[in-house]
Structures are given as C-alpha cells and as structure tokens.
C-alpha cells in the first residue's frame, strides 16, 4: 500500500494502517529528534507525539504538496524546536555528554584514536545552533534534498545551504583544533 492509501485508511480510523506507518517511519523520526534533542527520554516523548499527531491530523496531509516523510519530519522539527525553546540548550549538551554517549570512550582514555575523534565530533555537533544541527542532520543522515530539508525547516534553500556550510566549517575547525 502507498503512503496515500495508508493515510486515507488512517483518516477512516484504521489502526492497522497506523501501525504500518509507525513501523515505516519510526526509525527516521526518532533519529532526527535524537540529533536535535540529544537524549533518549525526550526523543521518545517527541516521537510518540509525532505519531499521535499523524493519527489526529491525518486529514491535514496533502499528498500533492509534500511526501509523508517530509510532513512527519516537519512535525518532528516543530515539536523539537518548541521543546528546545522551552527547556534551553544546556540540558541538551549535558545529555549528549553525560547520558547517552557513556558507551563511547572518553577523551584521553580511548581505546583507539577513532573513539576520541568520534566523541569530539559528537560534542562539536551538540554545540552547533539548532538550525545548523537540523540542516546537517536532514541532509547528511536523513537523506533529504536541500529543497526538502528547507521545506521541513520552513526556510529558504539559500538559508539552508548557508546553515550547512557554517556547520561543516565549525565541525572542521573544532576537530582540527583538538588534533
């Protein structure tokens, strides 16, 4: 079944169609939210809310205007940005550093140099402004085109490209400074 058929079924209250859509999109939505929020608990809350909105607002999705995944990522983006504005970024950085990356080797006591660099990169990403982190995640990890990513973030393609360029420069500089 196509996304359109599944969404029509959801509009009619079909819970099986909802389950199929959850299984199809859960991973990408949770990964995107995780990149923005930086901790597992908030990511799970936001992901749950995204799919609740898919269920309650199914009629608002227009297949001729955007792909379902774009629509869902836009919902996730807006929820994450609202959350970050309410709770600030300090918690996010703390979460990146202390909670969910405990499995990575800590700087200075790494098993290998790659683990150190990975931790540095993770920290560098967590310090990027939300728009840069979001742009980088959508284009690098989620595989959206610049146009789709710009639509998700509700900015122009030019602004998106500028955000990606700044993010990349910042990451390169931070990694180079720590080598």
């Amino acid at each position: 079944m196509t996304d359109e058929e599944l969404m029509q079924a959801v509009c009619m209250g079909d819970k099986e169609a909802y389950q199929i859509l959850v299984k199809q999109h859960l991973k990408s939505i949770s990964h995107y939210a995780y990149r923005l929020l930086g901790n597992q608990k908030d990511t799970e809350d936001i992901t749950q809310e995204v799919f609740l909105r898919l269920w309650t607002n199914a009629k608002k999705w227009k297949s001729d205007k955007s792909k379902l995944t774009t629509w869902l990522h836009r919902i996730a983006h807006n929820l994450c940005i609202d959350y970050l504005r309410k709770h600030g970024r300090v918690q996010t950085q703390k979460s990146f550093d202390e909670e969910d990356f405990g499995s990575l080797p800590k700087t200075g006591e790494a098993n290998d140099n790659g683990g150190d660099k990975l931790r540095l990169l993770q920290e560098a990403i967590s310090t990027l402004p939300e728009n840069q982190r979001s742009a980088l995640t959508l284009c690098h990890y989620q595989g959206f085109s610049n146009k789709e990513a710009a639509a998700i973030m509700n900015i122009s393609v030019k602004a998106l490209e500028s955000a990606i360029a700044r993010a990349k420069r910042s990451l390169r500089e931070q990694l180079a400074a720590n080598q």
Partner: protein, 149 residues
C-alpha cells in the same frame, strides 16, 4: 575558481568529488591539484565525513511498542464533524447543561432568520414608499382653494 568557492562546494557536497556538481567538477579538480590550502581543506572534510558516517544512534528499545500502544483518540472529523461533536452533550457536567441549550437555540435562530426573510422583506418597504409617493402626488393636485370652512 577561488578558495572560497571551492570551500562552499566542499561544505555543501562533502569531500567525495563524485558528489560535486558535474558542471564544476573538472574545474574543482584542477583547482585542487594546484592549491595546497584546498587540499588541506579536503583532508579535513574527509575526516568529518568519515566520522559522521561512523556516528551511531541508540536503539530506542520499547519505543515502537510504546508508540503502537499509546491510546489513540478518534480522528478529527473536519469542521462540521468538530461542530457536531462540540454541540452534542459532553462528558463534563458543564457541557451536559450547556450543549443541549445551545442545540435548542439552533431551531430558534433558524426560525428568526426564515421569518425575517418572509415577513419583513424589502417588498413591503417598497410598497410603503410607493404608497406615500402616490399620496404626495395626490395632495399636490388637490385644489385647496375650493375648500370652504
């Protein structure tokens, strides 16, 4: 090509030359061959690209069942459905009192609109105007000199 232009291409498309725009690829490669800072930039970008590819996401165990088993409200029915749901008796005591009263007002409002349309329409006012117009014309033709008191 300048270093700034090359940097922008690397920022947007990464270190892999196959992902650079076809129209600029040859120019970028020539520039790269003759420019040491560009090569250094590309090396740094390769490191970032490689590391970004290695970053892993947590597995979120239990999230799928949590999302699948969350209580789902009835899907929204559009504006008319929402209106009907709002008008029908609700679960709280306040709504149970208020909503039937509102429902009862609907035929009353409908009756007022219909009665207003049929009973106090523009036609009667026009007739009145014409009537008074005729009256004035008749009065103006009356020869009051013949009236004797």
């Amino acid at each position: 090509m300048t270093l700034e232009e090359f940097t922008r291409i690397v920022d947007l498309y990464g270190a892999e030359s196959a992902r650079w725009p076809k129209a600029l690829r040859a120019e970028c490669e020539t520039f790269l061959a003759n420019n040491a800072p560009a090569r250094m930039l590309l090396d740094q970008e390769r490191v970032v690209d490689d590391l970004m590819g290695q970053l892993e996401f947590p597995g979120f165990p239990g999230l799928e069942s949590r999302v699948l088993n969350q209580p789902l409200p009835e899907p929204k029915d559009g504006i008319f459905g929402e209106l009907a749901n709002w008008l029908l008796p609700g679960e709280s005591f306040g709504k149970q009192i208020w909503r039937p009263a509102l429902v009862a007002c609907i035929p009353l409002a409908f009756g007022i609109v219909v009665a207003n349309y049929f009973s106090f329409g523009v036609g009667i006012e026009n007739d009145g105007f014409q009537y008074w117009g005729d009256e004035l014309a008749m009065l103006s033709l009356t020869d009051y000199t013949e009236i004797r008191f």
